[in-house]
Structure formats: structure tokens, C-alpha cells
Symmetry: C2
Subunit: 216 residues, 2 copies
Amino acid sequence: MYTLTTFRWVPPFVVGYVRDLRVRWALEEAGLPYQLRLIGPEDQPTPAYRQQQPFGQIPVLQDGAQTLFESGAILLHLGASSEALLPSDAGGRTHATEWAFAALNSVEPHVANLAELDAFAQGEAWAIERRPALEEMALKRLAALDTWLAGRDYLSGRFTVADILMTSVLRLLDDSGLVTRFPALSAYVARCTARPAFKKALADQVALYAPAQATA
Amino acid sequence: MYTLTTFRWVPPFVVGYVRDLRVRWALEEAGLPYQLRLIGPEDQPTPAYRQQQPFGQIPVLQDGAQTLFESGAILLHLGASSEALLPSDAGGRTHATEWAFAALNSVEPHVANLAELDAFAQGEAWAIERRPALEEMALKRLAALDTWLAGRDYLSGRFTVADILMTSVLRLLDDSGLVTRFPALSAYVARCTARPAFKKALADQVALYAPAQATA
């Protein structure tokens, strides 16, 4: 049995976007049951929690006696025991690993800078001056990704954990509408988020934080 | 024989910090000989190069018939064939993988935002207003890392590719002096950059771009 650590409470506007979703989605794809461990701001700075997550963040995954942090590492770890998440041949694994790092290091930083500005700083003087450059940088990455995905269903030939990570990153731009400018990229996000495992993971996260909304 | 792709030319202020250094360092630690393939801005947008590096960036590593992008994936790939870079047991590998992702996804984005502001936007109105928040975010990550490294020589028990990635990320703050505020972190960076493989990799990069400086 896996135990996934996430927050007990989050502000309403991030419901559906909390970073445990990446791990929930992978566990659903692999058909692996899991339980939740819920933490609050009082747990994040404790030495005991920092032993498991040195930056005090979520998610953390416990797999028996092993405790893991960093969603990229957690997903590659789950992939090692499930063909549904990662091919078992070395070449296929390497390609998925390349795209896992690409999602988290080449795409997410730029996407997150723009999404955070829009969420937290709209109207501030620095944000008005800075936004065009951040949008340009994000669009450059999206355009490259759109070119790569033209004629491809998934990043590395078949669905892998890299697609879970990349889709999760691209969803940070949901409110901006930027992804819809790119046909191959939009189709890719639609394809990935149409997967039953994504829908189940999303519904479960929403049900935790906004039970009324989930049952409405 | 490995072939490492990097830029033919870079502006003087980034010499010693070009991202091929991470791969050079790993190859030196493992004692693996390599040759360079040098590219210019005319190569970066070509479909042929985008097949190898979808974002048109460097580094790219060719290992026989296999071509890899993303420094994190390249280093884990090299680690799979060298005990000097990664332990051969599954638990040890998982820990190093966690820290590889932590370097590139939990630390680098914040460090890079601050370093880029200092390099490219000092004095601009948005930068003056925004810098304190970016510095605070970077310091938060550095403090967590300093706590983790107290009493530890390396991130995950022994030297691994994760230390190459983390040190490379922390060096982006060289000009800011921020790392020197943290004793365990400063000692860690000094320990890693004192390694002969780092010195050789750095000297080779400097020799490529600034031959006069290297022999001075």
C-alpha cells in the first residue's frame, strides 16, 4: 500500500492544481491503491517532516519502508514497477526520463513564472512591465513543444510518466488561454486529460478540498 | 566515444557557466573520454537539430547510436554505467534521482530567476521592485538546503550526479554572494568544486571560449 502526503487544506483557487495530482494520476494509471496522509502548515517546518521533504513541500510518497520526495523522482520510481507508466526497455525509459526533466526544467520554470504573476501580482507595476517578456519566454517553449507534438500522440512514442508531468505543467496555463494558440499542443493536453486515470485523480483531489463542488 | 554538443561561441560573462559543464564534469568523474561537436545560432532552429534537442538548446550527448538531451537525463544515463556517478543499488539510485530533480525543479528555478535579474535587468524599474521577493524565495531554498547539508558531505550520503547538478545550480549565485551566508552550503560548494574532475571540466570550458585566459 502506498501512502501519499498532501495538504489538509488549500485555498479554493488551487483546488485541482495541487501537486499531489501528478502522483495520484500515476497511481491511477498503474492501478495502484493508496491512502492519504494529510499535513498542515504546522508540520512543514518540523525536523521530522524535513527529513522526508527537505523543503517542507508536498508531495511525499511512502512505498513500504521507502519514502520519496520530488514528483519527478516519485513518478520514475513508480514507473520502474509498472509498464503502464514507463516502458521496460532501457531506450524507452531514457526517452521518458529526458521528457520528464524537460517538463520540469525546460518548461515548468517559464510556465510557472507567468502563471504565478497572473495569480498573485496582476496590476502591480513590476508585473505590468515584466509580463510581456515572461509571456514571450513561455510562448517560445510552447511553440517548440507544439512542433515536437505535431504528428505525435505522446512525447516519447507512447504514454509515460513524462506525459503526466508535462500535462500537469501545461495545465498551470489554463487561465491564460495560451495553450489554445497551439493546435498540436491543445490536442495533446485534451488527449491526456481525457484519460480515465486523470479524471479519477482530479475528482479525488476536488472531493478532498471541495466536497460540495465534487458532488454538485 | 561520447560526443558532447555545445556552443561554438558564448558571451564572455557566461564562460565557466555554460550548461555543457555539468556533462563535462560527469564525464571527467567517470573517466570517460569525449569529443565536442560545436554549434552556432544557425543550427539551433533547424529541424535536424530540433530532432535531437526539441528546444534548440545545449547540451546534447551522443552515446553511440543514442542521442540524449536534458542535463538531468544525461547525467542519470551516464550514472547507469559508472559507479563513480551513481550507486548501483536501487535505493541509492532513487535517493540520487530525488536530489537530481530537487536541484533542477525545487532549487534552480528560484536561483535562476534571481541570477537572470542580476545579469540582465539591474536598474530596471520592475527589477528594483521585484528583486526582494525573488531573493527571499531563493534564500528560503538555500536555508533548507543548508539545514539538510549540516553534518553531510554530499546530498545523498556519497558523491553522485545530484551533487554535480546542485553545485552547478548554486554556482549561478557566485556573483550574488548569497551562498556564503550559509556555512554548510558554502562548505559543500567548496568541497564539490575542489574535485579534480570539476577543475578539469571548468578549465576545458574556459580554454574553449577564452584560450588566452586559460593559459594566463
